[in-house]
């Protein structure tokens, strides 16, 4: 997030050429999908009940994940950015470790902690009768584990960039840390928060490995769109292409919409 206005005329051509390659690299796979998708069968495939079920489950779980990531991730980001405590870099590394962990391994790790025989899961099961694997709650846990770091990193960077003098001034005027956070920090980082939530949501929407490992795959309960798409590749590759197109469209619309509605608007404010 830069506050400087970028001037196209001053961009050197090697940069433009390389940027062009990047754009092509991200565009071509989608062009390939669009090219191969069996458009004549779109209505047949999309009207299947199982598709609606998977799409709805995906939207439901990924939105809950974005919300939970916000509730728990923002305080964590604030802690990492503003509070100097021993082992801070250790905690930051821990909180972002799941980004580099192969999701399937992440799913197995979730078993070891929250599964029926896991470190904590066994007590959830014995004392409260709560079982997470093979449930929709398990899907959300798997998505949060993989997606929350995206929000934490985005929001932490934004809080670090904030001029802490505003917060300090409010503190000297007698405001509590919580009040400062609510009235000064939070409003200032709103664009980053929205961006972080969008990233976490998008990551959760596409989550596959941790979900199928920890939550399993059952239509209506744990079968999200990525799982339905992957498994359709086995039986009906054409349906898989259409399902991917549907997911791409949904996330593309939301991501573009969010940027225009929140980020574009906010950035203009800062520049003007």
């Amino acid at each position: 997030m830069t506050r400087q206005r970028s001037r196209q005329s001053s961009l050197p051509w090697p940069m433009l050429a390389l940027a062009g390659v990047s754009v092509a690299f991200f565009t071509l796979p989608f062009a390939g999908l669009i090219w191969r998708a069996p458009w004549s069968k779109v209505t047949d495939i999309l009207s299947e009940k199982s598709v609606g079920t998977a799409l709805w489950l995906s939207l439901e779980t990924s939105l809950i994940t974005a919300l939970i990531s916000c509730i728990f991730g923002v305080p964590l980001a604030w802690l990492l950015a503003r509070v100097n405590f021993p082992g801070r870099s250790f905690v930051r590394a821990l909180a972002t470790l799941s980004m580099v962990l192969p999701p399937v391994v992440g799913g197995v790790a979730l078993f070891f902690s929250f599964g029926r025989r896991g470190l904590f899961g066994q007590y959830l099961n014995d004392w409260f009768g709560i079982r997470l694997p093979f449930t929709t709650a398990g899907v959300v846990i798997a998505q949060c584990f993989v997606a929350m770091p995206f929000l934490v990193l985005t929001v932490e960077a934004a809080i670090r960039q904030l001029d802490s003098r505003y917060e300090d001034a409010a503190r000297t005027l007698g405001a509590s840390r919580l009040y400062v956070f609510r009235r000064i920090t939070l409003p200032s980082i709103k664009p980053a928060l929205v961006a972080g939530m969008a990233l976490a949501w998008a990551r959760a929407l596409g989550e596959f490995g941790a979900t199928i490992t920890f939550a399993g795959n059952l239509p209506g309960t744990t079968q999200t769109m990525p799982l339905a798409t992957y498994l359709a590749l086995e039986s009906d590759p054409e349906a898989a292409l259409i399902l991917s197109m549907l997911m791409i469209t949904v996330s593309f619309v939301v991501l573009v919409g969010l940027r225009d509605r929140w980020l574009g608007h906010q950035r203009n404010d800062l520049v003007s």
């Binding site: 599964g115 025989r117 093979f134 939550a215 059952l218 590749l233």
Partner: protein, 250 residues
């Protein structure tokens, strides 16, 4: 997603393999795409084959039969394809990618897999119908899912699965971790899993015999080596290794 990654890897492997072939003219590098349920036995088969044929080195590519069938149709560079079922071999044959006919070289059968020590005392297929029991299987498109459905149908048992896993390993992992109570897998998987799980035999009159098929791929430049490998699988020496790992004769 994993599949996209492997599609990206194909050209890279192609370059690597091409490099191997050109750098050394005296040995042939034979690329074998095989179903993951053959991983352990094929590693032994490969070793013995290379001892008997010092001019050939083998590189295995293990994945689910359906993944491999798709990848081969997308140009996966391979000389031989070994499938866990007839259906996925048919995909490759029907696409005209096989040279001649595929042949059956070994068989397998199914067993109920339960948590180590069988804490729920499961001893029959009928017990799998208990709705409180966490039973995991695969979608019927995956070979093991189709076979499981067939066995349950033979026994007249209806189950409510807790999950439809992507492959056999998914079933084994969940049962071994104690997160699922039972599943149905290949007999050889339970043998290979050692003492991390327990197997419960299925009565012969309802069990199925699954066939493994192998064929040489048409686009291969190593047809001679391919044929020698395929013949080795059915040889006395080859069949001995299969029976050591719990597989049956073709």
């Amino acid at each position: 997603m994993r599949r996209l990654a492997s599609l990206v890897m194909i050209p890279i492997f192609g370059v690597i393999f091409a490099g191997c072939a050109s750098s050394d003219d005296t040995t042939t590098s034979l690329r074998i795409a095989a179903t993951s349920s053959l991983t352990e036995v094929f590693n032994d088969v490969g070793e013995q084959f290379m001892q008997a044929n010092p001019d050939i080195t083998i590189a295995f590519n293990f994945a689910s039969s359906s993944d491999l069938a798709l990848q081969i149709s997308q140009g996966l560079p391979a000389d031989v394809f070994a499938s866990a079922d007839v259906k996925n071999m048919a995909k490759v044959t029907d696409a005209g990618l096989l040279l001649g006919q595929s042949v059956a070289f070994t068989t397998n059968s199914l067993e109920i897999v339960v948590e180590k020590g069988n804490p729920l005392f499961i001893d029959s297929l009928a017990q799998l119908a208990d709705p409180s029991l966490l039973f995991v299987t695969c979608p019927i498109e995956v070979p093991i899912g189709g076979y499981t459905a067939e066995v349950l149908r033979n026994a007249g048992v209806t189950v409510t699965p807790a999950s439809l896993e992507e492959n056999v390993k998914g079933i084994l992992t969940k049962v071994a971790l104690g997160e699922a109570d039972a599943g149905i897998v290949y007999r050889t998987d339970i043998l290979a899993a050692g003492n991390s799980v327990t197997g419960v035999p299925i009565a012969d009159n309802v069990n199925v015999t699954t066939k493994y098929l192998v064929g040489a791929l048409r686009d291969s430049q190593n047809q001679d080596a391919s044929q020698r490998f395929i013949i080795f699988l059915s040889s006395e020496q080859g069949q001995k290794i299969f029976s050591q790992f719990g597989f049956g004769p073709a």
